[in-house]
């Protein structure tokens, strides 16, 4: 079976982003970009399933600008077999991302699609669930553990009160949480090899999907800054401040 892994190019998690002074957005000029960390976990999970003999091919797909190729190459260097770039310079909202991914699924017929639970830029946490709905497939979101068998997959999920395990029939959607695995680093030889792996470039039109955004961003602002606090010299002083100044205890 094939596994499809959508990977998104996002601002690196170490970057402290800055809001543009005129309120039109976030300043993305010259900031370091990387693969969304949850998507690295998704690629790793797919590769582990392949290495365990449970999948034949791992395909990475990204929707974004030309530069999203780099993100796909990262996935290929980790070990994915081939990549698909759906090239667009437009903003693509999760619903349209899901529609494009559905078209890729229709063409490639994977048995599993493994996505990140959220992209760390927009923090929408929607795409996998939307894709599940559009395909009529079951979903195991926020995955902590994945047990794949011939006719189904058990996904243990991180939920508010602890862990929940669901059984899904195949094909199915999985979205990754932080503790599913530890993604591997791509070795230098593998980075070189990845340059020769097949990477198709398509456009949204090739899939008959029209990007039509529903949301208009009216303004982007910085959150209010907390007023600077003080350092206290001792536990006694801390307790006193909490009681008598902050009224917190």
């Amino acid at each position: 079976m094939k596994i499809l892994v959508p990977v998104k190019r996002v601002v690196d998690y170490n970057v402290k982003i800055r809001v543009k002074a005129d309120g039109t957005g976030v300043d993305l000029a010259n900031v370091k970009m990387s693969m969304n960390p949850f998507d690295e976990i998704a690629v790793e999970e797919a590769l582990k399933l392949k290495e365990a003999g449970k999948a034949e091919e791992v395909i990475v797909v990204s929707i974004g600008p030309e530069k999203a190729q780099e993100t796909l190459r990262t996935g290929l260097a980790m070990g994915a077999d081939r990549g698909i770039l759906i090239k667009t310079d437009e903003t693509v909202e999760p619903l349209d991302v899901a529609k494009l991914l559905k078209a890729v699924v229709d063409e490639e017929q994977p048995k599993l699609v493994i996505l990140g639970k959220q992209a760390i830029d927009d923090d929408a946490n929607q795409t996998g669930q939307m894709l599940g709905a559009l395909l009529g497939w079951g979903q195991g979101t926020f995955a902590y553990d994945v047990e794949l068998s011939d006719d189904g997959v058990d996904v243990t999920r991180e939920v508010d009160g602890g862990l929940q395990t669901v059984s899904l029939s195949l094909p199915a959607i999985i979205t990754t949480d932080l503790r599913l695995n530890e993604p591997r680093y791509a070795s230098l030889p593998n980075i070189m090899k990845a340059k020769k792996k097949p990477l198709d470039t398509k456009e949204p039109g090739d899939y008959g999907v029209e990007i039509k955004n529903r949301l208009t961003v009216l303004e982007t602002t910085e959150p209010p800054k907390r007023a600077a606090g003080i350092k206290v010299g001792s536990v006694a002083e801390l307790v006193d401040k909490l009681k008598n100044e902050a009224g917190a205890i």
């Binding site: 998690y13 402290k16 982003i17 976030v26 949850f38 899901a98 639970k117 760390i120 830029d121 923090d123 929408a124 946490n125 929607q126 996998g128 669930q129 894709l131 599940g132 709905a133 009529g136 497939w137 079951g138 979903q139 979101t141 926020f142 999920r157 991180e158 939920v159 508010d160 009160g161 602890g162 929940q164 395990t165 669901v166 059984s167 899904l168 199915a172 949480d177 932080l178 503790r179 529903r214 949301l215 961003v217 009216l218 303004e219 982007t220 910085e222 959150p223 907390r226 606090g229 003080i230 350092k231 206290v232 536990v235 801390l238 307790v239 401040k241 909490l242 902050a246 917190a248 205890i249």
Partner: protein
């Protein structure tokens, strides 16, 4: 415009997150109804009927809804959606899971995790771990919205809405519930606690984490939280993780101990009323958001603090 508010509950009791989302639903305009989907959740429906401002409570009682699996509950909500202009749920793990499914089935772009209702079609939501806020306007006729509960006060519970049974039975062959491991226990719920005591990597072991933090949390009536590093290392369970990709909390008092203050952690706690940090490194970023910082070794300071609270 009428809104359908989706209740968060465990079949026994209504979760406070519902009351907070109710405040957001009320701000949308012409009232709201509440959907309680569960199994044997009659008590929850009765509690939901008391939410101030609720028009009526729709109670869907079916084994298929017992564990709030996304596939059947999404189908249920879609089957009720015709009568509503907006569908609103708290951004708990259940509704983060199910609501995007509803949105896609309705061909609507969901607005996740709103912190403010500006008008019927315009909302504020955090992006980049809360380092920026977007004011977004939607052109969708029907709105599908999850609510960041820390940003809204809980609605009052002095209402008396009627309860109506809905018997839309879903046909779900694609997913089933297998098991769950819920922590339970007596400790207050992290998401709604007034005081949260959180520990980080510096504890070094699960034993030390519990031995030092439990007595402190007990004295303060606090919930326990953790950084991702502490959870990854196995000192604390997954659902204690506070942050961008864990739980967002805004208690009256948040005490961060042995936590450096990475942006992903700050995203989950920086709206707390009073923040205390204990760290050996006087330059740790956590001190930039702390009202009261104490520089020193947690292994000495935590027991000292615990006994000072007598």
């Amino acid at each position: 415009m009428t809104t359908l508010l989706i209740a968060e509950h465990d079949n026994k009791a209504l979760n406070e997150a519902t009351l907070r989302a109710a405040s957001a639903a009320a701000q949308l305009g012409d009232g709201f109804d509440v959907l309680v989907a569960g199994e044997g959740a009659g008590d929850v429906a009765a509690e939901a009927a008391k939410i101030a401002g609720a028009g009526k409570v729709l109670h869907a009682d079916n084994a298929a809804f017992a564990n709030q699996l996304a596939e059947p509950v999404a189908d249920l909500i879609v089957s009720l959606a015709d009568g509503y202009d907006a569908i609103v749920a708290p951004a708990t793990s259940n509704w983060k899971n199910a609501l995007p499914r509803v949105a896609a089935l309705l061909d609507v772009m969901q607005i996740s995790d709103i912190t403010e209702v500006v008008s019927g079609d315009t909302f504020v939501r955090p992006i980049y771990a809360g380092n920026a806020f977007q004011k977004v306007q939607t052109s969708d006729a029907k709105k599908v919205i999850t609510v960041r509960t820390t940003a809204f006060e809980a609605a009052a519970t002095d209402g008396s809405a009627s309860v109506e049974a809905v018997d839309n039975a879903p046909d779900n062959a694609i997913s089933s519930f297998k098991s769950e491991q819920l922590a339970g226990g007596d400790r207050v719920d992290l998401a709604s606690a007034k005081v949260v005591v959180s520990g980080g990597r510096a504890f070094g072991s699960k034993e030390k984490f519990n031995e030092l933090l439990e007595p402190l949390a007990d004295k303060l009536g606090a919930a326990l939280g953790a950084s991702r590093a502490a959870v990854d290392a196995g000192y604390a369970p997954n659902d204690w993780q506070v942050g961008q990709t864990g739980k967002v909390v805004a208690p009256k008092l948040y005490i961060a101990i042995g936590i450096s203050g990475a942006i992903q952690h700050l995203a989950g706690m920086k709206d707390s009323t009073t923040i205390v940090a204990i760290n050996t490194d006087e330059d740790a970023p956590i001190f930039s958001v702390a009202d009261y910082g104490l520089v020193g070794d947690l292994f000495e300071l935590v027991p000292e603090l615990t006994s000072a609270l007598d």
